[in-house]
């Protein structure tokens, strides 16, 4: 289904007469509501407890593009890691779609992550010895899938991010923006419901940042991906339908959702 969707999108991209979809609002297809309930996260350092999140509540409807802002050290990355199942809360519950993360074992959580979450990091974290295409293919190794199907998916994902001509380049032969596109292709190649992006434009110039954010917008609007973007940049934040502020463990909302059906 995913390939079909993307293929349809790519064909439209290649047709210059049809650019209207960029402003066209598509209703969400993915059904992963994120609900964070009374989440507490403390870190321990030399027996001293460092509270980061203190009973946080948050609901992100499926298909929403939310932006999370806040001062450094306020716990934005921590929250992202909890929602993505990379870490567990000290207490409280996190539900993503039908999955209650705190009821899952570590291996279930790992498996769930490979199927339902796509991470995008500030530092891209590409594997330097693999080409762009190989980097994108990597998460597909966790699926039982023919190599033909894998190649097809990789090609489509690279087409979406506009890097088909660079698929055989290694990360050190790519610019920062291109590297981040590869990372995005890697995050979407498994067709996850949720995309979690932690300062994806933190290392990029304004123009490249804009391109990356447009890409996230497309993923949200065309494919209904639920996106949570962490950023310090107000211009980047403007791309979201809703802006959340995290400060001293308290979450406040600045901009209401635009498109929820």
């Amino acid at each position: 289904m995913f390939i079909g969707e993307l293929q349809r999108y790519v064909t439209r991209l290649q047709n210059p007469n049809n650019v209207s979809f960029l402003i066209q609002k598509v209703c969400p297809m993915s059904l992963a509501n994120i609900s964070v309930h009374q989440v507490v996260k403390n870190y321990h350092k030399d027996r001293i407890e460092i509270p980061v999140l203190n009973g946080l509540d948050l609901t992100i409807p499926a298909g929403q593009f939310s932006v999370l802002m806040g001062p450094s050290g306020s716990g934005k990355s921590t929250l992202l890691h909890l929602i993505g199942g990379l870490d567990r809360p000290t207490s409280g519950t996190i539900q993503v779609g039908d999955f209650n993360l705190d009821r899952m074992s570590d291996s279930e959580l790992t498996r769930w992550r490979s199927r339902h979450v796509g991470f995008i990091f500030q530092m891209y974290h590409l594997i330097p010895v693999l080409t762009a295409a190989e980097n994108v293919e990597l998460p597909l190794l966790l699926f039982s899938m023919s190599s033909h199907e894998r190649k097809q998916r990789v090609a489509t994902a690279l087409q979406v991010v506009g890097l088909t001509d660079r698929m055989d380049h290694r990360p050190n032969q790519l610019s920062g923006g291109q590297e981040q596109r590869v990372a995005i292709a890697r995050a979407i190649v498994t067709d996850p419901d949720v995309i979690l992006a932690d300062e994806p434009t933190g290392d990029l110039d304004a123009k490249t940042s804009e391109e990356i954010l447009n890409l996230l917008n497309i993923l949200n609007k065309e494919f209904g991906k639920t996106i949570l973007l962490v950023t310090h940049d107000p211009r980047a934040a403007a791309h979201g339908q809703r802006i959340l502020h995290l400060d001293k463990g308290i979450l406040s909302q600045e901009k209401e959702a635009v498109c929820v059906t």
Binding site: S77, D87, S107, R113, R115, M123, H125, P128, V129, L130
Partner: protein, 390 residues
């Protein structure tokens, strides 16, 4: 496929490190292959020696001290019907050199009438035995010695013994003992040697180096080993009797303590290889902490990370092990080194099986050396690892 591409490319990240580590694994494997081949050759020699059920009677003090020649009759008298004690053959070591050649020969003067009975495993032909009995100057050459000195059947050769009378003696090559278990030692006739002694005014036929006794059964071997030593216990020249295997074993043990030392050497070097590979794998993983964390964030399990590091290490070590096994195998199979003579075991054969074992050991080195780094990788906390890198 991509999985393997990734693992192989990991090894090419730091070529110098990979090569050095492979070499650190290859070297012990070379030593392992060589020493195991030597030990296995020794063992097969010893096993053959044991099968022949021969006893060696020497002086109790040292096998360099001679024994009275007359002991032969006393030994034979222990079994007058020759049921168990089939033959007693006196032997005297002569050593010997060829003019203008520094190489020392291993020549024994032996009792002509009992040689064949003592060494049925040499399968002498009727023709050879006829010549041996007919010609006082007959010499049976060890095949390896014949090859090295370029002597052929029918040659007349001149050897100067390392013992009295120290004068050149001429011999006729009547055999190059094809089935010899000891391909170096050559035999000449004791009567000819004793005559040569007398001719030059030496006394000496009343003393002899040692006796080789052929027994009929293991029980007989055991019985006479003790009986002979008991018989001569109160004589001025007491004896020490052991079977051929213990004798050779004792000789090797005294001379080099070879098998034990080789085994210790081999295991020490394997240990060093494990340390080297462990160090490399730890460095490899430390250099790639962020990648391990990334793989985990993509959904690769701790177990798959563990296995991946293990496989990477095995590939690293097996490549070293393969080279390490190939070097001695190639050297001894495809170069002139294969015909080089080594004491006791002669030409060293490098069995393919030993090489395969060596590669397995390399796999083991790979696993052992990767356990610790793989465990570190498996238990790596993704969040902490990513945080340090951002």
């Amino acid at each position: 496929m991509l999985y393997w591409i990734y693992l192989i490319r990991n090894l090419t990240r730091n070529i110098r490190r990979t090569l050095l580590t492979s070499a650190a694994v290859a070297l012990p494997i070379v030593i392992f292959v060589l020493s195991t081949s030597v030990i296995s050759a020794l063992n097969s020699y010893l096993d053959n020696a044991a099968k022949q059920m021969r006893l060696i009677v020497t002086h109790k003090t040292s096998f360099i001290n001679p024994l009275p020649s007359g002991y032969r009759y006393k030994i034979e008298a222990l079994d007058p019907e020759r049921k168990e004690l089939t033959a007693v053959c006196g032997m005297h070591w002569l050593g010997g050199k060829v003019e203008n050649d520094p190489r020392l020969l291993s020549t024994l003067a032996v009792d002509k009438d009992n040689l064949e009975a003592c060494y049925p495993d040499y399968h002498f032909t009727q023709e050879e035995m006829d010549a041996w009995h007919r010609d006082r100057q007959a010499a049976i050459l060890g095949p390896e010695t014949a090859k090295q000195f370029g002597w052929k059947l029918g040659d007349r050769i001149t050897i100067t013994p390392s013992l009295p009378p120290y004068t050149p003696m001429e011999f006729h090559v009547i055999s190059t003992a094809e089935h010899a278990s000891d391909p170096v030692t050559s035999w000449i006739r004791l009567d000819y040697y004793f005559d040569a002694l007398k001719e030059h005014g030496f006394h000496g036929d009343e003393w002899i180096g040692f006796f080789v006794i052929k027994c009929n059964s293991i029980a007989g071997l055991d019985h006479y080993r003790r009986a002979i030593d008991e018989l001569f216990a109160n004589y001025p020249d007491p004896t020490k009797t052991r079977d051929e295997k213990s004798f050779v074993n004792e000789f090797i043990a005294q001379q080099f303590n070879l098998p034990r030392n080789l085994a210790i050497l081999a295991s020490l070097t394997v240990f060093v290889a494990i340390m080297a590979a462990m160090n490399t794998m730890s460095m490899n993983i430390r250099d790639r902490i962020n990648e391990v964390a990334t793989m985990k964030s993509l959904g690769f399990s701790s177990r798959s990370v563990f296995v991946q590091i293990l496989i990477e290490s095995m590939m690293l070590c097996v490549s070293g092990g393969f080279v390490g096994a190939l070097i001695p195998y190639g050297l001894f199979h495809w170069t002139p080194l294969g015909s080089m003579t080594i004491p006791v075991i002669q030409a060293l054969d490098i069995p393919l099986l030993v090489c395969m074992k060596a590669v397995l050991i390399a796999v083991g080195i790979g696993i052992l050396s990767a356990l610790w780094p793989a465990w570190l990788g498996a238990k790596l906390n993704v969040v902490t690892a990513l945080r340090y890198l951002e």
